[in-house]
């Protein structure tokens, strides 16, 4: 935060003089929501804060996005869970913005509302054949193997083909490739959903293509994940030497970015390593560069994908930014496959009454303050309404990115409080948590408290012990709610 210590002292002095609580609601219990809650509670002793989430389980993508074989990445939930010991904090699971409570209702009962509900939809390609069976978004597949209650039924067919194509080369794409090619025995002791493990054991997938429209210099994955996929047993990784050729613009890009340099070096190593190093490679992973999908084609079954038509691309500088974009060359080729995963980006969903930039898929904002005019001049702030996380920045970054994002948004809130930008709104008496409880009671909504979540947590951990897993995830809405309400 940009306050000097004198300002902080002065401000705290004012706030402790008035003992009126400041009621804050954070919509969304993922990393953005929890980091925001932590910082708000720490910075302002008069704050009473609630996190609401539409799921009965907190932690967002830490629970449903991080891959099962990355348990260390999930350790951050320990820190988030400690928030539950703060008397000024409450968690309300099973409460959905829009259906359980509207945005205007929240703005009525809370002084400050921070939207942190992330991106629960997908970018689409908009090309022919996108609706064919066998084509899934990365989000759906990841939710499926992580046991998200919305995705239990959307099971991909892993027994009907030996080839899967993943469009995109970010870390999520690598997660998908790794889960498909990994020996299922290695996944047995992770918290992967049981239905996914069963399906993977019977999978016939032996070949995965990771397709990117630009080159190895622009690959969006990071070194740790690349290293991991290179060390998979019984998997041979293929890269064409020709794809590694660098243009002067490529060299410039590499000079500017340490991440890209190290990724490019790793990819070069793969291309130059001897293919006969591995004794028995039953599975293959191919990095395909400079190809963008033009259409999906069925074969005998008119409803199911069996080929992807790809257009070769070349790079062209985009304005004077140094960024290079992929441009179609008019040459095409086809890849045979029975399964496609689109890992081209998540997308946020708009909500009634909320300004939304449909093109970027974010809520227009200035450092977290929601703008009413889609960002155009004159910009009007919607008083008391803020945004944080993917909904604010777009669906990029790591968990830690939300740490700094939350700092920025909380900084804006603090500035606004201090400079009176929220008057007279802030001096009104608002019911906060009590108001929410009333609304939920009237609608007969049984919310899930943090203690209720701990019942789910304990059951999952105990069930997991029987199978040497850190937890056995409960994947149905009914069962989750049943255990929470015991």
């Amino acid at each position: 935060m940009a306050l000097s210590s004198l300002q902080k002292w002065f401000f705290r002095g004012i706030c402790s003089a008035s003992s009126k609580p400041l009621h804050v609601c954070v919509v969304g219990g993922g990393p953005a929501g929890f980091y925001t809650a932590e910082k708000m509670l720490k910075a302002h002793k008069e704050v009473q804060l609630d996190i609401i989430d539409r799921l009965p389980t907190p932690f967002g993508l830490v629970r449903s996005g991080v891959a099962p074989d990355h348990p260390e990445t999930k350790i951050v939930v320990n820190q988030f869970s400690r928030l539950a010991e703060n008397e000024r904090f409450s968690f309300f699971g099973n409460v959905s913005l829009g259906t359980s409570v509207s945005l205007s209702e929240l703005c009525d009962i809370y002084h400050v509302v921070v939207l942190a509900y992330g991106a629960e939809s997908d970018r689409i390609l908009g090309i022919p054949g996108e609706d064919l069976n066998g084509i899934h978004s990365a989000r759906e597949f990841v939710w499926w193997y992580n046991g998200h209650p919305d995705c239990k039924c959307v099971a991909p067919e892993l027994k009907t083909t030996d080839t899967a194509v993943v469009l995109g080369q970010g870390n999520v794409a690598l997660d998908i490739a790794r889960i498909l090619l990994q020996d299922p025995a290695e996944l047995e002791r992770t918290d992967i959903a049981e239905h996914a493990l069963a399906s993977l054991r019977e999978s016939s997938i032996r070949k995965v293509y990771l397709v990117g429209r630009r080159g190895p210099v622009q690959a969006a994955c990071t070194a740790k994940e690349l290293r991991e996929i290179l060390s998979l047993k019984h998997v041979q990784v293929h890269i064409q030497e020709a794809d590694l050729v660098k243009s002067p613009l490529d060299e410039e890009e590499l000079k500017r970015s340490r991440i890209q340099r190290r990724v490019y070096d790793l990819l070069s190593k793969i291309a130059s390593s001897q293919p006969s190093d591995h004794v028995s490679c039953e599975r293959d992973l191919h990095f395909v560069f400079f190809r963008r999908p033009a259409s999906f084609l069925p074969c005998n079954d008119a409803n199911k994908v069996c080929r992807v038509r790809l257009e070769k691309t070349f790079l062209k500088e985009n304005g004077a930014t140094g960024r290079q974009s992929a441009v179609g060359s008019g040459e095409f080729e086809e890849l045979e496959c029975g399964l496609v995963f689109k890992s081209i980006g998540y997308k946020s969903l708009p909500v009634d009454g909320l300004p939304f930039n449909d093109q970027k898929g974010i809520v227009p904002n200035d450092r977290g303050r929601v703008l009413s005019n889609a960002g155009k001049e004159p910009s009007n702030f919607v008083p008391g309404l803020y945004v944080v996380g993917w909904l604010k920045r777009g669906p990029t970054g790591i968990i830690a990115t939300n740490l700094y994002c939350a700092e920025e948004t909380v900084g804006s809130i603090t500035e606004d409080l201090q400079q009176g930008a929220l008057h007279p709104h802030i001096s009104l008496d608002k019911p906060g948590r009590d108001g929410l409880l009333h609304i939920l009671q009237d609608k007969n909504i049984r919310f899930v408290s943090f203690k209720d979540w701990e019942k789910i947590n304990t059951k999952e951990i105990n069930d997991g012990k029987l199978k040497s897993k850190p937890r056995e995830k409960i994947t149905s809405w009914e069962e989750l709610q049943e255990i929470a309400t015991q």
Partner: protein
């Protein structure tokens, strides 16, 4: 194993008081490192012992992320640092030499570390040899994030070594640390992860700056790195 034996022999009450004194401001739990590689491939906590203000030392089965309640003091450390702690406590309680010599010896086994926050405020602390900068920061209420609790799965404990001489005295970062440093905000030439910088005598007087992350974030066209 040491702890279990001590518990059995009833040696724990004075030990626990001492641990309580040491750990008053510390959060964590003693994890008995009984197996080098476990379910998670890195470390597995098969048993946890923690000090409850009312009950004294108790051990429980492995529960991840035991919550901290007031009245409980828990000490967080890995197997290696547990043995360092055990050593220093054993000397305090079970040594046959006089207390005076022990205290002097204990003093020499700490180094001085200064943390500088992004507003320029400085805090000097004493860090026992063998402790990581992340643990030391948490013991002394310094605001250093540690999302993955020292398992090299994040970059939130990023610190900047302010003196090149001290930076050069550190062992080179491993590939794993470098992979995480790639993602750190405000990365500099002398950046390291706080959980990987372990106190040793040559680092006495080291000064560590917490990165001014917000200055680097979403300003002047800076784009967060893709995940």
């Amino acid at each position: 194993m040491e702890l279990k034996r001590m518990m059995e022999k009833g040696l724990l009450s004075s030990f626990s008081r001492s641990l309580h004194m040491l750990s008053k401001n510390i959060q964590g739990s003693l994890n008995l490192h009984l197996q080098p590689l476990g379910i998670f491939g890195r470390r597995e906590y098969l048993s946890k012992a923690y000090f409850d203000g009312d009950k004294g030392w108790t051990s429980s089965g492995s529960i991840q992320g035991a919550a901290l309640k007031s009245g409980k003091a828990e000490l967080q450390t890995t197997g290696q640092r547990f043995s360092m702690l055990m050593e220093s406590l054993k000397r305090r309680h079970f040594s046959t030499t006089g207390n005076g010599a022990d205290d002097q010896k204990n003093e020499k086994e700490k180094i001085s570390v200064t943390f500088v926050d992004k507003d320029g405020n400085e805090k000097e602390i004493k860090v026992p040899i063998g402790m990581s900068m992340l643990e030391a920061a948490h013991e002394n209420d310094i605001d250093l994030e540690g999302a993955c609790e020292g398992s090299l799965a994040c970059s939130t404990c990023h610190v900047i070594v302010m003196d090149v001489d001290h930076y050069n005295k550190l062992e080179d970062p491993t590939d794993e640390e470098n992979d995480m440093l790639d993602l750190a905000f405000g990365l500099t030439e002398t950046s390291r992860l706080g959980c990987q910088v372990i106190a040793k005598p040559e680092l006495d007087g080291i000064r560590l700056a917490l990165p001014a992350a917000t200055r680097n974030f979403a300003v002047d066209g800076y784009v967060p790195k893709p995940h």
